[in-house]
Amino acid sequence: MTVENLIFQGLIGLSLAMYLWLVSAGLTLAFGVLGVLNFAHGSLYMVGAYLAYTLYGRLGFDFGVSVVLAVLTVGVLGAVMERLLFRPMYRLDTAFQLILTFGLVLIFSDLAKLIWGGLFVIPPVPAVFQGTVPVLGRSFPVYNIFVIGAGILVAGVMGLVLERTWWGKTVRAAAADREMAAALGLNISRVFVLVFAAAAMLAGLGGAFSIPVRVVDPGTGTALIVQAFIITVIGGLGNLRGAFVGSLLVGVLSAYGTLLFPVFELFIIYLLMAVVLLVKPEGLFGR
């Protein structure tokens, strides 16, 4: 086990982490502001992937255009979901919210099967992203570098928006104390719709980015959501910084797990989540 191999595996873990970050960011944002733990967030990733596939792989749009259009569409879908399905749920116990969003997972999965068929789909890799760069004597895919860069960019932009802009302050206020913010004159319903649309777009972005390198099929959302749950819990529900660190942790740990502890890599992640929940349930960055 050479140092180069260890660093290389870490870089692989970093690229894995970015997809997880995009889904977890949306999930934790939705929980922090709306108070809803959305089981169906992995399904939004799946919808983003399917839409990008259709636009780029079937209709021949440019890859960048396909990603943008797919993300915007998922945003609209998110807004509709919030309006129609989440609004009646806010006064209910979280148990019912979990059950309802689980029902949505089933619906999305079968709708995907209905529209795109039960078989997996994958488009060709865009020419600009083919190829590798030599890193530490091994070949690292160009596309992974792009994804890592995009993920960090998203994290940076979100951090800036939330900390420095008026809009960010509004969102943080609504998250901290909904009633007080409403009493101060904020239009809470508008904030909720827009925040959830943004959360959905993040997941959709992750999905759209994934299509050149991963197949999509109706089961894609289900596998991802458990990992996203783990990350948001580890980082602290509602905490974006926590979700970013959590994604890095889970992504890199599972990469190292595969290299160094091949039998246990699944178990390690669940154990980590259980330990955090038992010792510091608010999460590593929670208040």
């Binding site: 006064r91 909904r178 529900l237 905490n239 038992l278 208040r287």
Partner: protein
């Protein structure tokens, strides 16, 4: 309400009960082999759900990891049957193993509530799943354990051949009946009332001097025992056990069945198990998109009919019986306001 009102209501209940019993009895001769098999699995789901609802409906805790105990029951019973063909021993071992598992996991999980509890049980459930999946030497890994025998039921004075599907079915029905009876005693005892008090207001219960965590743990273990009992039946029924029984998507089955039937009613889980199975089987005859149908049903139920089918039907039948509108009390208490800040 624990008070029994005499008269017409009880008589109607008796008639419904006899009707249901007759329906259960007539499945094998009237419907044949495959429906008998389906009905057997439905009875197992009913046992699972009845136990599950003690934790969910009566104590207010939603666990997404109960499949772990179901799987523990299935695998331990399987190992026993592979070594020594005694059904009673296998069932007892399965239930026992599930109970021990529930004690350990429950002890760690009931320290948290609400969402954190659900997430913890999900994590533990999936840990059990990954152990079952990876530990090939003991559990057979993703191949599972196969070649399990279905021994005759040796009661001492009589030996029943369970290889005949109808015999196995009736045996399962008897076990379900016993489980329901037992749960009825539990729920209508002071213990059951304390659980509901904890569900409705944890702080108030604590101030009354109730050791909340201990009661929650007890409820958790009992529901785990029921899950283990249901799971133990898988080994002789299917003659094979696989890791799917430990996956969180399988944990969702009693959740959905209970929701469908009604979390507020005692027999809701049983009704729900039957409806859930019927829904799946009937829908599948017309379209392959049964998940879509189930998902829509779930959404509609949560938004409109949280009391499940039992409360809906009760709402229709109640006035006809002259009892007025049944009060639907939302038995799972609302979340206190104010959540984490997005940072």
């Amino acid at each position: 309400m624990a008070v029994k009102k005499p008269g017409f209501r009880n008589r109607l209940g008796l008639i419904l009960g006899l009707g249901a019993a007759l329906g259960v009895l007539l499945v094998p001769p009237l419907l044949g082999r495959y429906p008998t098999y389906l009905a057997t699995t439905t009875l197992m789901l009913a046992v699972f759900s009845v136990g599950f609802n003690l934790l969910f409906g009566y104590t207010g805790l939603l666990s997404f990891g109960h499949a772990a105990f179901y799987a523990l029951g299935a695998y331990v019973c399987a190992k026993v049957l592979l070594a020594y063909p005694s059904l009673i021993l296998g069932l007892l071992a399965g239930v026992g193993a599930a109970g021990v598992g529930a004690l350990v996991i429950g002890f760690l999980s009931v320290r948290q509530t609400r969402i954190y509890f659900s997430m913890l049980t999900l994590a533990f459930g999936m840990m059990v799943h990954s152990i079952v999946w990876k530990w090939r030497e003991v559990t057979g890994g993703d191949d599972g354990l196969v070649g399990i025998v279905r021994p005759n039921l040796d009661l001492g004075f009589v030996e029943i051949n369970l290889n005949r599907p109808e015999n196995f079915y009736y045996f399962t029905a008897v076990i379900l009946l016993a489980s329901i009876f037992l749960m009825h005693r539990v729920v209508n005892s002071p213990f059951g009332l304390v659980l509901q008090a904890i569900r409705d207001s944890e702080t108030r219960a604590a101030f009354c001097g109730i050791p909340v965590r201990r009661y929650r743990l007890a409820a958790f273990v009992i529901s785990g025992l029921y899950a283990g009992l249901a799971g133990s039946f898988v080994a002789p029924l299917e003659r094979a056990v696989t890791p799917v029984y430990a996956h969180w998507t399988f944990s969702a089955e009693p959740v959905l069945a209970t929701l469908l039937g009604g979390i507020n009613s005692f027999l809701g889980p049983v009704v729900g198990a039957v409806l859930f199975r019927l829904l799946k089987e009937v829908v599948v005859r017309y379209t392959e998109y049964w998940q879509l149908a189930l998902g829509i049903v779930v959404v509609v139920l949560v938004l409109g009919f949280r009391g499940g089918v039992v409360s809906v039907v009760g709402g229709w039948v109640g006035p006809w019986l002259g009892r007025g509108e049944p009060r639907f009390v939302q038995k799972v208490a609302p979340e206190p306001p104010g959540q984490g800040a997005a940072r």
